[in-house]
Symmetry: D2
Subunit: 454 residues, 4 copies
Amino acid sequence: MKTFRDPVHNLIAFGPRDRLIVDLINAREFQRLRRIRQLGLSNIAYPGAEHSRFVHSLGVTHLMRRILDAGLEQSGFGENLEEYREVALAAALLHDVGHGPFSHALETVTGVRHELFTTAAIRAPRTEVHQVLEAAETGMADRVAQVIERRFEPSRAVVKLLSSQLDMDRTDYLLRDAMMTGAGYGSFDVEWLLHVLRLGEVDGDLEVGLDLEKGRSIAEDYIMSRYYMYLHVYFHRTTRAAEVMIEKLLARAKEVEAYLPGFTALNTLLSGGFEADEAGVVTFMELDDGMIWTAMHLWTRDPDPVLSDLSRRLLNRQIFRGVDVTDREKEMALRERLLRRADREGLPHEYYVITDEAKSAAYKDDYVAPDVSVGSQPFSAESRIADATGGEGAGRGWTGADGQGQPTERVYLFDSAGRPHELSQVSFLVDAVRHKQLRVRRILCPEEWLDERE
Amino acid sequence: MKTFRDPVHNLIAFGPRDRLIVDLINAREFQRLRRIRQLGLSNIAYPGAEHSRFVHSLGVTHLMRRILDAGLEQSGFGENLEEYREVALAAALLHDVGHGPFSHALETVTGVRHELFTTAAIRAPRTEVHQVLEAAETGMADRVAQVIERRFEPSRAVVKLLSSQLDMDRTDYLLRDAMMTGAGYGSFDVEWLLHVLRLGEVDGDLEVGLDLEKGRSIAEDYIMSRYYMYLHVYFHRTTRAAEVMIEKLLARAKEVEAYLPGFTALNTLLSGGFEADEAGVVTFMELDDGMIWTAMHLWTRDPDPVLSDLSRRLLNRQIFRGVDVTDREKEMALRERLLRRADREGLPHEYYVITDEAKSAAYKDDYVAPDVSVGSQPFSAESRIADATGGEGAGRGWTGADGQGQPTERVYLFDSAGRPHELSQVSFLVDAVRHKQLRVRRILCPEEWLDERE
Amino acid sequence: MKTFRDPVHNLIAFGPRDRLIVDLINAREFQRLRRIRQLGLSNIAYPGAEHSRFVHSLGVTHLMRRILDAGLEQSGFGENLEEYREVALAAALLHDVGHGPFSHALETVTGVRHELFTTAAIRAPRTEVHQVLEAAETGMADRVAQVIERRFEPSRAVVKLLSSQLDMDRTDYLLRDAMMTGAGYGSFDVEWLLHVLRLGEVDGDLEVGLDLEKGRSIAEDYIMSRYYMYLHVYFHRTTRAAEVMIEKLLARAKEVEAYLPGFTALNTLLSGGFEADEAGVVTFMELDDGMIWTAMHLWTRDPDPVLSDLSRRLLNRQIFRGVDVTDREKEMALRERLLRRADREGLPHEYYVITDEAKSAAYKDDYVAPDVSVGSQPFSAESRIADATGGEGAGRGWTGADGQGQPTERVYLFDSAGRPHELSQVSFLVDAVRHKQLRVRRILCPEEWLDERE
Amino acid sequence: MKTFRDPVHNLIAFGPRDRLIVDLINAREFQRLRRIRQLGLSNIAYPGAEHSRFVHSLGVTHLMRRILDAGLEQSGFGENLEEYREVALAAALLHDVGHGPFSHALETVTGVRHELFTTAAIRAPRTEVHQVLEAAETGMADRVAQVIERRFEPSRAVVKLLSSQLDMDRTDYLLRDAMMTGAGYGSFDVEWLLHVLRLGEVDGDLEVGLDLEKGRSIAEDYIMSRYYMYLHVYFHRTTRAAEVMIEKLLARAKEVEAYLPGFTALNTLLSGGFEADEAGVVTFMELDDGMIWTAMHLWTRDPDPVLSDLSRRLLNRQIFRGVDVTDREKEMALRERLLRRADREGLPHEYYVITDEAKSAAYKDDYVAPDVSVGSQPFSAESRIADATGGEGAGRGWTGADGQGQPTERVYLFDSAGRPHELSQVSFLVDAVRHKQLRVRRILCPEEWLDERE
C-alpha cells in the first residue's frame, strides 16, 4: 500500500492492515517533521547528520511492527500484543510529533517540554493527526497519547517497547545517528537485538529485556554504542557550543522583543511562549528549522548588536570555542580575562562568556515523565545544559536526580525460567560503565578571544 | 588538520597540504550549502534523501584528491597533475557554490543558471571564497572559475576530472543519492572505478576514461546506475510534480508581487532577479531552502488564493498528481475536463492544469557550458521541465539539442596502446541503452480533481 | 531452536516448527557439504570464494522460508503454500546434497549428473537424510525428491520457487558468490526482489515472477548481475583452465588406473563410476574436496609423468594458460607449434594442448531435467566445457540445445490484472542482452610453452 | 600488476613496486595456505567461517602496505620505514606460512610451534619462498625471518606493525573472522584505526600506538571486539570440543601407529614428528586440512574402535558435549558416572571423558617468542587447551605466565607531546576488562552419555 526506502532499514512497507499509519503519515503535523532535523545542529560537526525526525519516526514504527509481528511470539506475549498493534504503531509514529526545531533551546524558552506538545497535538480536535485517529476509532487519540505518557494500562508491554532502556525509539536513533554521522562505533547488530528481545516480569511489572544467555553481549554492545554516541556525537564540543548559542540567541530575541512581521509562531514564542492547549499547539506546529534560520537572516540586520552578531556567527559557523576547565583557579583567571574582553567589546557577559556544564552516565538514561513541566521549576545550569546535548537526550533529563534507581533505568536479562537479572549485575563491563559519568565543564566564548594554545 | 566522517566515504581527512581547502570550507558562501538540500524535493518520495550540497561537495573534493594523489600515477599523468592539485581541489569544492534552493525553479525565475552564480561568487572581491583564494595566490580565483567553466587551458585533465561523463561530481552524487534514497540499484563499485580510471587522448584532447580490459563492466554498471537513478529518483512522478509546483509558486509570487518584509534576497528574486554581478551574488547568497519554506508559511496567509493554496499544499505534501498521457485524444478530453473544473473553482488554468514533458537518454548527458544564459532564450516547455528533474540533471540541460554528439558526452575506454574506444562501440549493452530515451508526458493537477482510477 | 549466523543473510534462525530441517542439517550426507566448496576452483582467481555448499544450502532454505512465511501473502497464494512448507524447505535444503567435489569434472568421469545422486540419496533407505524424512512422515522422501525433479504436482509454486529463473537457489548463490568473490557488480537488492516477487499463471502453469510495475528494474539488475558473474567469475579464464585440468587429471587417473589404497570412493570413481543406486550413493557420499586434493598429493609420486605433473601443477597453482583464438589460421599455427612442443616433452597431446570452447547467453539459463543422463550421450567438446564453468552453471546445461525457448527460461512480470509479460518484451535492456552470447574459444597449455606476448 | 578482490578489503592491488610480493604469492608454500582454514573447525559453529590462511595473509599484507604508504607519514616515521618496505611486506605475507592444519592439535603432536616451521621454511634453501627472497636480495630470507621472530634490529617499527597489540595481523583476522562468522560485535572501524595509528617511543623502544585524543574510543572498541570474538567464536563450546577431539584423534593414531600408505607427511607426524630442519619443513609442507579429513575417511575403517569412532564423529559432526563445571563435588560425581559409562562401552577414559580448562584475559594477549619450543617443556593441561582455542590464539600462548606485564601486552596512546599512556590507565573501560578473565572449565564427553538436562 505504501512503501518507503530507507538508508537504515532498506524497505519500510505498510500493507493493507496499516491504513491508519499511512493516513497519519499524510497528516500535516507529521509532514512537518520533514523540516526538523533529528540532531539539530550536529551536522555542524558531522556533516552527514542531516536526517529529519520524519525519517526517524518511520524507522521507529518499522521496528515496532517487526517486533509486534514476529519477534515476541516466542515470549508468549505475541497474542495479547496483537490487539494493541494499531495503538502501538500509531504511538511509535507520533512519539516525536511535538518536537520543535533545536528542541532543547526551544524548551528552555517556552518552558514546555516537547512531550507535552506531542500529547496535546494528538488530543487537540483541530489537528489532522487527532482527526485521523478518531476517524479510525473513537477514543484512539487518547489511547495513543497514554502510551506516549507511559501510562497506558491495558498493555505495559506496548509502553515499554516505545520507551524503556531497550525501546524501539532508541534502537532506531542510535543506528540512524551512527550511520549518518559516520561514527562507526555507534552501530550494533540490530538483527540480533530483535532476535533476543524478550518480555518478562520484574516486580510485577512487564518489562522489555533480553534473553540472558544470548543477549548479554548485545546488551553490552548497545550500552557501549550509546556511550560512544554521547561521548562523540551528542556531547561534541562544537555541537554543544552551537546549541548553547541558539539558546542564547532566542533568549536575546525575547529580551529585545525582536518580533518579525508575519512570523506568527516565532513571535508567539518570543512574547511568552505557547500554552500547551489547542490554540497553542496549532500555532506551535508552524515552527520548523527553516523559520529559525530565516529569522537569523533577518536578524543579521537587526539594530541590536548581540542579536545580529549571534545570528551571523551561527549562519557562518563561527561557533564559540569551549575551553575545558578543571582547575578552579585557572578557570577564574580565564573567566576574568574574558569578561574584561567582553567589556572592551561592549558585549554583555551572559551572552559571550558562558559556563557549560554537563554530566551523564552511560547506563543511566531515565525517561522523565512528559507531564513534568520544566517551566515552573527552572533547571539548574547543569541539568539544563546536559539536556541540551541533542539527540534524544534532549528532553529526557538523564541527569535528573529524581529518576535514579528506578526500574525504567534498568536493562533486564531474563533467564530460561523467566527470572530477571539486572544487566550491571551480570556484566562486569556494564558494571564498570554504570557509575562512570561523562563530565564536561567548559567556558564558551568567541574563538578569537582565546590564545592559539587554548 | 581537519577530518570529517561521512556516511558515503567514511573518512574525509584534509592534511597540512590542504590548508586552502580547509579555509574555503570555513567561508560563509560554502557554509551556506549546509542549508540547501542536494536533491531539492526528492525527500518527498525518498524520505532519507535529505543530504545537503555541503556534504556532496566535500565528497567530490575527497574523490578528486584520491584520484590526484594515487589513481593516475599509472597513467603517467601523475606528475603533471601535481602542480594543479590546489586549483583542482578548490574547483571541486566550489563547483556548486552558486546553487540556490530548489535550483531549477529558481533558475527559471531568475533566468540565470547556477553556474553563473558559482563563477561570479568566486570572482567577486567581496565574497569570502574569493578572498581566501586570492590570499593563497594572486589569480587563483580566476583559475578556479576557469576550471568550472571548462576552459582551464593549462590542464584539460583537471577540467575533465570535474566535469565529464566519468567525473568526480557525478561519481559522488550517484553514490550518495543512491545510498540516501535507499535505491539499491543506483550504487556501483567506486573502488574499482577509481582503480581503472585512466587519462588518455581523444582527437588531441585529454579525456578521462577507463581501462579497456578492466573497465568495461564498471562502465556499464555506472551507466546503468545513472539510468536507474533517473528512472526512479530524478524522474520520480511525485518529486517532479512538487518541483513544478515550487516553480509555479515562485512565478505566482512574482506575478502578484508578494514581497515579504525583511526577505531581501527573496524580494530581489521576485522583483526581477539578480544580476550575476558582485552585488547580485552577495544578495543571492542569502537564499536557502529555509527561506523559501518560511515564505510559504507566511504566504499561507496571503490574500491571493493561488499563492496561499500552493503554499499550503507544498507544506502539507498535497502534491499534484501526474497522469501519464499517451493518447492525444484522451489527453485533450482530460485536459478539457480539468480546465472546466479549474473554472468552477475560480483558479487560473496555468497554475492548476500543467503539462509536464521530459525526455532523457541514459547515456547522453551533455554538459552545457555555463555561459549559456537561459534568460535570453526562454526554454521550451519541454526542456524547461526536463531540466527540473533535480539531482544534478538540473541545470545541465541534458535535453539540449546543441550538445549532442560532442566529445563530452562520450565515455572512452583506453586500450593498452592508449587508443580510445567509445563505450557504446565496445558494449552492446550501452549501445542498447544509448538511444533509449526516457519519455515522460503527464498532466499535473490537484489529486482530488481526478477519479480514483486515474 | 537452532540459529546460524551468516555473512550474507545475518541471522538464519530455525524455530520449533522447523524441527525436520534441523534434523536434516544434522544428517551426515548434509554435513558432508561442509567439505565441498560451492565454487570449486574459483578461489584460484578470487581468493575469498571459499564458501561451501553447506552454507549456500542454508541460505536457500532461509530465503525459501522468508518467501513462504511472508512474501507471497499478497499474491493470494500464501494459504495454499502453507501446507507445502515442510516439503519446500526440505527440498531447498537438500537440493545440492548429491554434489561431488569439482562437480562437473566428476560428472564427466562418472557420466552421472549430480541431480541423480541428489534424488537417489534422498530415496535410498540407508541414508540419514532418507531416514529423517521418513521419520517425519511416510512418503516424505519421495515428495522432496519430486520437488527437486521439478515434477511435484501438488504445488507447481514450490517447484518454481526452487528452480526457475528467479528461484531462491540462484538468488542465494548470486548474492553469496558476489560477496565472497568481492565482485561488486554481482550483487543486487534482495529485499526489493523478495518484496516484488509474485506467483502467477502462464499458459495454465504456475510461475514465479515479479510485479510488472515495481519489478522491472530489479529484474534487469538481476539479469545483469548474473551476466557479470558469468563474465567475470564463472567464466574466468584461470578458473576455467583449472577446471579443465582437474577433469583431465581424473581422466588420466582412470586411464592409468591410479588406484589409491583405502580411497574406496575415489577408486570406485576411477574403475567405472557409481551406479545411482543405494550402494553407489552411499559410497559416493565419501567423496569430498579434500579427498581429491589428497589424491593429488599422493599422485605427485606416481610413476606416470602426466598424472604426477598435473597433480603438482594443480597443487602449486601452475595453471594452464588460455589463449583466445579467433582467427582460424592463427589457431592452427599455434596448435601446430604447441603439439610439436608436447612431442618434444614426450607428453600426450590431449592432456597438454586443449581446445576450450563455451558460450552462454546471459538471459538463457535453462534448467535441464535431472533425469537426463550425460553418460550415454557424450557431450560435445563445446557443451562439455561450457558446463565446466562451475558455480551453478555446472550441471545446468545452459548451452543445451533442447531447452531453448521453453517456459522455464523466461522471467515473467505480472501486471495488476495478473497477466504475464515476458521480461525481454518489456525491457529493452534485457532484450539487448537476451541474444548476446558470451563466447569463449581458447587453447589451453602450460604457460611456459608460450611466448611472453601470447 | 596483480589485483585481488577481497570481501573484507575490496581491492588488494600490487603494483610494479611489489614484484617480490607477487612472486612470493606464487610460491608453492604460500599457495598451500589456500588449503588450510584460518579458523580450523570454527565453521562447525559458524558455517560461514570457511576462509583460508591464504586470504588472511593477503589481507595482512594489504594493511601493512596501506600503513607504510600513507598512514605513518604524520608520525615522522614515514621516511625511515620506506627502506624496510619490502622486508615488512614479505614478513606480513609469510608470517603464517608454517601453519599446519588444525594448528594447535598439530603442535601438540609435533611438539613444535608453527612459528618455528614458518621461519624454518623461510630459511630453508629448498623452499620456493626462500629462493624467491634470495633472488631479490641476498640475505633477505634471514631478514624476513628476523621480523617474524621479533628480533629485527634495524627497525623495531616493522616488528611492532606485524606483532603487537595493534598489529596488522590481528587487525585483519578480527575483521575477517567477524565478517565471515557473521558475529556483528566483532567488527570495528578499521579506517579510523589506521587514521589514528602512531609510532612512538616507550622506554626507549619503538612502539605502535594510537593518538591519545582521537584514538581512545577505537582502542576500546578494538579491545572489546577481541573480547567478544574470544567469548563467542574462539572459545565457542562446540568448536573447542571439536578441537579437543581432533587432538585426541591424532594422539590415538600415533598411539596405535595408524599409518596410511602414501600419506608421507601424516606418517612422519605420527611416527615422531618433524624436525624443524630443511627436510622436516619440506615434508611438513604437504600437510593440509584435506589430508587430515581424508585420513579420517580411511580411519573409519580402521580396526581400532577409538580411532574409527572419533573419525566418524568428526566427519558427521557428532561433537562431544561440554558440560560447565563449577562445583568441585558435582564435577567429581559427573566424572565418576561418565567413567563408569566409558568402562561399560569398553572405551578408554582419556579419549572419552576429558577435562577442558582455559582462561584468558581480554586485554592480555602476549605474543610468545617463536623460539620457545613447546615440545621440551610439556604444557600443563590448562595452557595446552587454552591454546587450542584456534583463531590466532592458537600458538600464541596468551595464558603463558612468562609474558605477563611485559611491554608487548600493552596498548599505548601517544599524546601530542609524544608521551605514551598505557590504555588501561586512560580508559576505565579497558581497566575494567583488563583483569577480567574468561574462564572455562568443562567436562567433554559423547552427547548421548548425558541426560537431557545436562
